[in-house]
């Protein structure tokens, strides 16, 4: 099982967001060059799960210039932390728009 979120990227627009499930899970947001800008999650307080979260991103960032991919999971908290740790292991830093404290994250060295 791949521990990375390696689903195909989708364009962040109204149509793709409306089609998202209202379930809990994690997502990645990227620019057109597929550089990950943000790792986020739809947790227990999100009104319509991933759809709400990505809808907020769409409202904040505008249509057309961003990509996203997501994963439905009830283990959204540990999966979120895992994705942050993987990004840190791969790139030496967190995505540009993540404000998480690196000191509170674990260290992974995936094979």
């Amino acid at each position: 099982m791949s521990i990375r979120l390696d689903k195909p990227w989708r364009i962040l627009d109204e149509g793709s967001v409306e089609a998202l499930p209202g379930q809990l899970g994690v997502y990645q947001l990227a620019d057109e060059a597929e550089t990950i800008l943000l790792i986020g999650y739809a947790g227990g307080h999100s009104l319509f799960g991933l759809r709400s979260e990505l809808s907020s991103q769409l409202s904040a960032r505008g249509e057309g210039s961003f990509l996203f991919r997501c994963e439905v999971t009830m283990q959204y908290m540990s999966r979120y932390q895992e994705l942050l740790m993987l990004h840190l292991a791969d790139h030496g830093e967190l995505p540009r728009d993540n404000n998480d404290d690196v000191a509170t994250l674990g260290r992974l060295s995936p094979a």
Binding site: I3, G43, G44, H45, T73, M74, Q75, Y76, M77, S78, R79, Q81, E82, M85, D101, T104, L105, G106, R107, L108, S109, P110, A111
Partner: protein
């Protein structure tokens, strides 16, 4: 024996109960339902408050600066500290402080300087590396990680799984086979630093606990100085099992806290929720669930306090601790399950803490020695035969 708390214990219990109700529970509304950490500012404020109360570092032995709380009082506190949403695996979000790895109290002076004291000062974190893909309940046979002597060092190779906190730790205890011809007498315990070459946390293991995960470790040609053997070479098995019985008592007590809180929720709910023209409290099916809950809670509380009482009096308590763990985890899971049933659809939602408690209590029947192992311990002590 009724195990009624004495006056001092009652005062402590009331203080902790008030702390949970007034300081911890109100913060949870703003946190994700699966969260296990407070905002840094809240945490610092509450740690300071706990220090003022004189309860910080609850599990640190008195000679190392802990508050010197006996195990019965500690058990009563554990029952109170878990009575909130994150309470089972993050009682009071850790603001009462940790004690570090209990095994470090057996370390030599140099090892204590390097690992124990920095842990007690909050400067270092450790992990406990026993379980392997081949099993965790039978370490004498399951441990396949090897340690081979090479000059002044040992070279370790192997894998560990279901290890909590290894990714955030500065050091850890790794149990490895130092004599392949022996069973439990061929295992040693090594103190390793997580920045040593050859130590790798390969992946996160996701479980029913959304915010807590376990990890999988690979150990490849990890060179450990001989001075880092904890205790005697080939004496690791005793170190692994030494404090296990004692740890099972507060482990079971935490489960009872959830059951008590769930029962309170159920009683409140059945008195206001109406069906077919009357409140649920008037229905015999509901009344029986409430009664079964109370019986489970009181039984579990009795067994947990009985084990604590024996430990406190210096009597053998291995069987009683196994019974406490067995009954505490299973009875509490039944209570929470019934309370979910009473709440109907709402019981399944993240609006209430019940679904989180239900998931996390399921883990407790496996963690800290599966309940089948507890039954084996009790059977062995009753029948007087060794396990094979």
């Amino acid at each position: 024996m009724d195990f009624e708390p004495d006056q001092e214990q009652r005062l402590i219990v009331e203080t902790v109960r008030r702390f949970v109700q007034e300081e911890i529970a109100p913060l949870e509304g703003a946190l994700d339902p699966d969260a296990s950490e407070l905002e840094a500012e809240d945490r610092a404020r509450l740690v300071a408050k706990v220090k003022e109360m004189g309860f910080y570092g609850l599990d640190i032995p008195e000679e190392y600066g802990g508050p010197g709380i006996d195990i019965v009082t500690r058990t009563l506190m554990a029952i109170e500290m878990s009575q909130h949403r994150a309470g089972l695996y993050a009682p009071c979000y850790g603001v009462f402080g940790g004690a570090g790895l209990a095994q470090l109290y057996e370390a030599d002076d140099a090892q204590k300087e390097l690992y124990l004291y920095p842990t007690l000062r909050g400067e270092k974190r450790g992990f406990f590396g026993l379980t392997e893909p081949s099993g965790g309940s039978d370490p004498a046979r399951a441990i396949r990680t090897t340690a081979v002597r090479q000059g002044d060092d040992w070279i370790l190779n192997g894998e560990k799984t279901f290890i909590s906190g290894a990714d955030k730790a500065d050091f850890g205890l790794i149990f490895a086979r130092t004599d392949p011809t022996l069973g439990r007498e061929g295992i040693s315990c090594f103190l390793i630093d997580t920045d040593m070459p050859g130590f790798h946390v390969r992946r996160v293991i996701h479980t029913l606990r959304s915010s807590h995960y376990a990890t999988e470790i690979e150990i490849k040609d990890l060179r450990v100085p001989a001075a880092n053997v904890l205790g005697e070479v080939n004496g690791g098995f005793a170190i692994a099992t030494d404090r296990v019985s004692r740890q099972r008592i507060p482990y079971a007590a935490g489960c009872i806290g959830l059951a008590i809180k769930a029962q309170e929720m159920a009683i409140d709910y059945v008195n206001v929720r109406e069906t077919f023209g009357d409140v649920l409290a008037t229905r015999q099916a509901i009344q029986w669930m409430i009664v079964d809950n109370e019986t489970d809670i009181r039984t579990a509380r009795y067994f947990v306090l009985a084990a604590a009482d024996r430990a406190n009096r210096g009597l053998s308590f291995r069987t009683e601790a196994a019974m406490a763990k067995l009954i505490g985890t299973e009875a509490s899971a039944r209570v929470v399950d019934r309370v979910m049933q009473i709440h109907g659809g709402y019981g399944m939602t993240k609006d209430l803490p019940l679904e989180r408690w239900w998931r996390e209590l399921r883990i407790r029947r496996v963690g800290e020695g599966p309940n089948e192992i507890q039954r084996l311990i009790i059977a062995r002590n009753l029948i007087g035969r060794s396990l094979h």
